[in-house]
Subunit: 347 residues, 4 copies
């Protein structure tokens, strides 16, 4: 039985991690921590976990985490970088769901997160945890930076296209739509139901923290310079991200729907959590609600000589906690789908 | 491996059954039928089931069901009563999620469903499938009538109170609120999002088909005549029922919150799917979304000398398909919680 | 042109007041105040008011209110009682949308609001502002306490029944369902869309601040002692309250649906904002969204010998700001429907 | 008093027209027709119109329309082209909210609507009814084709940019998101709340009927050939369209945020229903809910040398019925804003 710990389990990614880990027979959640909720029973804060999780929140420095083989950080940015080294030194391996170790360029990180980074050397060691890119490195890693929700949907959507060099990588447009849990679980007027329901708006138009992450990883997959216009939108729903990805075709001839479909089929043939839809079917976020699946549809618009990829995930599962469990499975050397084979909750 | 079949799997209770059965290692869904969708792949109608369910819809009379040990009917009323006998005769056991076998009084059934009943003798044989009442009989039954969604929430809420004889059973008020999937998945203006969202209304004020079912079962649990005023409401949400149950105290003295809490604790101590909340906590339907749990809170309002019970279920799980799986487990003599231990999807 | 002011216009009742007053040709909003937003343009906080309201928030003590003929308080409780006297002394008339002047019994008020009341003498002077009860007194008043949202729906629903002495007033059950804007517009985890959407729950089960208000006003309308069990519920929608009101018939004979329908028709014949539905039609909150209407349906359940009244309002209109405008119209001696004849926004 | 008629008032654009016309003192709705609802009171179908609209649905051929000065068609495509000529001949002027007269190229219309057009000569006469383009022609017209909802949002967003020749018109991407009322009010599984809520999906990826309309009108405003990739999305909300419009800058130098903001300010300075937001503010559909406003934000992304325009409307108001009333006002020669100055319903 592998002992794991969760730091900061009072947010949405925290409760989702606990949901996914609750019935693992091979993994035991030994400790959950919270700065603000020490002493509270987890099941009192999240009654959905009654009779499933029998733990109290503890202090981060309580020592409870130190015999955990794996420690998840489900915290805002800035927490993991303060604490990860100590855990790594004591032998734990760390999966950070926050942004602390995602960007390799420290200056860029400090620009976007407006904070001094506390352990640049660990950034160098950290593996970017998208299994579809870095499966092997993840398996060996002590420290994994789980990808952001938008980057997950966008990278999986663009990946085969960029690797194949078929599109103009300077003209990418990623229009993404997210449910409100992407904003976390914190006291705020902006995300009250009275503000968010029955409305949609764009935000972060002039810059979103996921932009440098998307650029960094797309650039690693492309021979050409990558320039992507990314506009996120806040949607009146709880869970789900749909990314609509546009790219002008860059090759003179030979583009067709068959070429694209085959390209994606080959790219994701062995990926357990990427579900390439047949031509004529399109993803809807409801079809991945609660599941670790990324549903993808690739389309060729001949009139416009443009590729349009649709990519749907549950932001809290493949976009966060499910992917973190997938990472854990890889790190532990067990089947990657362990504990992640549940069907999406439809309707 | 137990082979099971599902009749009418194109509705919400059908897809929910398939979700719950998809990963059973001891049960295999051998056939799903649909009058209108013969030849369609199940996963084409419900893309959430892609790579989980690899079956096509077949005709009801295709013979595919005849070697199924258990056959579920997830159909509108009127279908099971036409077909059940043949299946029973050929050795299958039947779990009917529709209303065909719930009411013991044929005249009452025919009054409410405005149809002649085709097999009154099977009604006599059928067991009303609320495990918390009829567990033993279910285990022996060939034919089980799974309870309606409202009756499940209301019966579990009132049961201990009526058995104990503590309240005036002629003054019961059951105010129930349901998500829209209770109305099924059929072409209709009334349940368009544009009609239902951002609104609540009462319906069936002068009579709802679940009234005779509630009365029948409550009467069986009470020494006194039972009269319950039942008003259902349509809510702008997908899943969930909350029943708010009122009852005036009928005993002269000795009523207290402790008496009530102990009564309910004793009643449900060994029930795996009834979760009695501690005093001061109240159910919310989100906490049972996707789970087979009925969360109950019992309250004593001393000012009014009245008991108020709150009872929350997911109408598609404990109110339909989850309960049907629970029934199946009992019929098969395997642990009742098999395949039903998933955590509710929160948020 | 009548000059009016709004204190605390940063909440939902504030912006609703401004919406309703924006195009009045006989009334001019001269000042809006906010403790936290001084200097901010109203239209920057509420972009729906761009080109409709050209004012900045001012400090409460800026003097801007002192030449307002009418001042509305759209504040949390505790503000109006600190400031009303000064405004009254300077000649303004005050309409308080908060709870400060609703309860005549100061001890009861202090019990429920856990604060010492600062001006009991003004409580004695204040008129409870339900026009359907107190129209004449409102017309003469300097200080009007606009009713709470739940009390409005419940009082209008029960009123004719209690006045006629037809029901057992010790056995009233008021089951009410409210949209989330009833909780106001303040930073909070509890009312995030991720918490509230796709769920319903009861709250205030053991006591809600509107209970003493409901009891006070119902008692004034009844010859008998009144005992009402009131359970409010939080619904996943922005606006709207539906109250389902139960009452056992207390008269030995002669009760019928005609008696009830006639009783309500007579009671509300001349009320411009109470819309009694014909038998067989039932209110839905969508039908009053944005309108100052209370839709009512009265039903006789002969089986149970019980009356069930359904009463629907928009909590922000007839339940708050629309009613406040109605009160203002009465105070000004102009037609009561002025500025309040807009049609509900359906769908 | 101008007499007007509404054909097909049982859908969402119909009830919205009636809402907007209910309290006009200069216009009287003399007749509403419906094939399926003849004899039904309008207020029975739409209880929000009780005491506002006192009409029954009549047959289209009842003659009731023939003394109407203006007749609105709020029908599916194919109806207006059968009936318009007769009305025009008898002296009425026609505003068609359907697609029958929007496309000037009959062959293109017949390709997209899969029907033979019945009156090509009227197509030639019809004026495309976007006031911001064709105000004068509308004023003179007998027959006006009110624009589609998506085209309205997209045209108003792109117009100044294309007229100024600042962007590469062969690389336009219009990513649009619509509430469910865009699909109309008809019996359908696809738009049930259980299907649509808590999900987003793209549709019409390989062709939507609004594409030729968008191309036709954008081409008329541009010196260059126009190629626009248009992907519509179905959103879990009742009303609202947000269009996110992308365009690569085509000029070598001099592009800046000031240039853009001035361009749009000049273009829309005198437009009463186009609200250009200041830099740093972004539209949300809630801010135009129920109002005839199009809120626009124009953004320059220097990193990508790309313009991003955000354009928000209420699909039933500026995208349909409000715009139809605006058209009527222009045709009648009265102030364009008459009856359209209501504030959006926020929250």
């Amino acid at each position: 039985m592998v002992k794991v710990g969760v730091v900061g389990a009072t947010g949405y990614t925290g409760v989702e991690l606990l949901r996914l880990l609750a019935h693992r027979e091979d993994v035991s959640v030994a400790a959950v921590t919270s700065r603000e909720r020490q002493g509270t029973a987890v099941a009192d804060l999240f009654p959905s976990l009654r009779h499933h999780v029998d733990l109290d929140f503890e202090a981060l420095d309580s020592g409870a985490l130190h015999d955990c083989e794996i420690v998840f950080f489900a915290t805002p940015h800035g927490v993991a970088m303060e604490t990860a080294r100590q855990l790594l030194d004591s032998g734990s391996r760390v999966i950070d769901l926050s942004a602390d170790f995602r960007l390799k360029d420290i200056a860029v990180w400090e620009h976007w997160y407006k904070t001094e980074h506390r352990c640049p050397d660990l950034v160098a060691e950290a593996v970017y945890g998208l299994p579809e890119i870095n499966r092997e490195a993840i398996g060996q890693a002590r420290l994994v930076a789980a990808p952001g929700c938008y980057p997950t949907a966008i990278l999986l959507g663009y990946l085969p296209l960029l690797r194949a060099g078929l599109v103009d990588t300077t003209q990418l447009v990623a229009d993404a739509k997210s449910g409100v849990t992407g904003a976390g679980r914190k006291a705020s007027v902006d995300f009250l139901m009275g503000e968010v329901s029955e409305s949609i708006k764009a935000y972060g138009v002039h810059g979103h923290r996921h932009v440098p992450e998307i650029r960094q990883e797309l650039s690693l997959q492309s021979d050409s310079a990558v320039n992507v216009t990314f506009i996120p939108h806040l949607m009146p729903m709880i869970r789900g991200i749909l990314a609509t990805l546009y790219a002008p075709v860059a090759v003179a001839e030979g583009m067709s729907v068959e070429v694209l479909q085959n390209l994606y089929r080959d790219a994701y043939r062995d990926e357990p959590f990427v579900d390439l839809l047949p031509q004529g079917q399109f993803p809807a976020t409801r079809n991945v609600k609660g599941a670790n699946t990324c549903q993808i549809s690739v389309n060729y618009l001949a009139d416009n000589n443009r590729v349009v990829v649709l990519s749907a995930i549950d932001n809290l599962v493949k976009g966060a906690s499910g992917q973190a469990v997938q990472i854990m499975n890889i790190m532990l050397g067990i089947p990657e789908t362990t504990g992640l084979d549940n069907v999406a909750l439809v309707p």
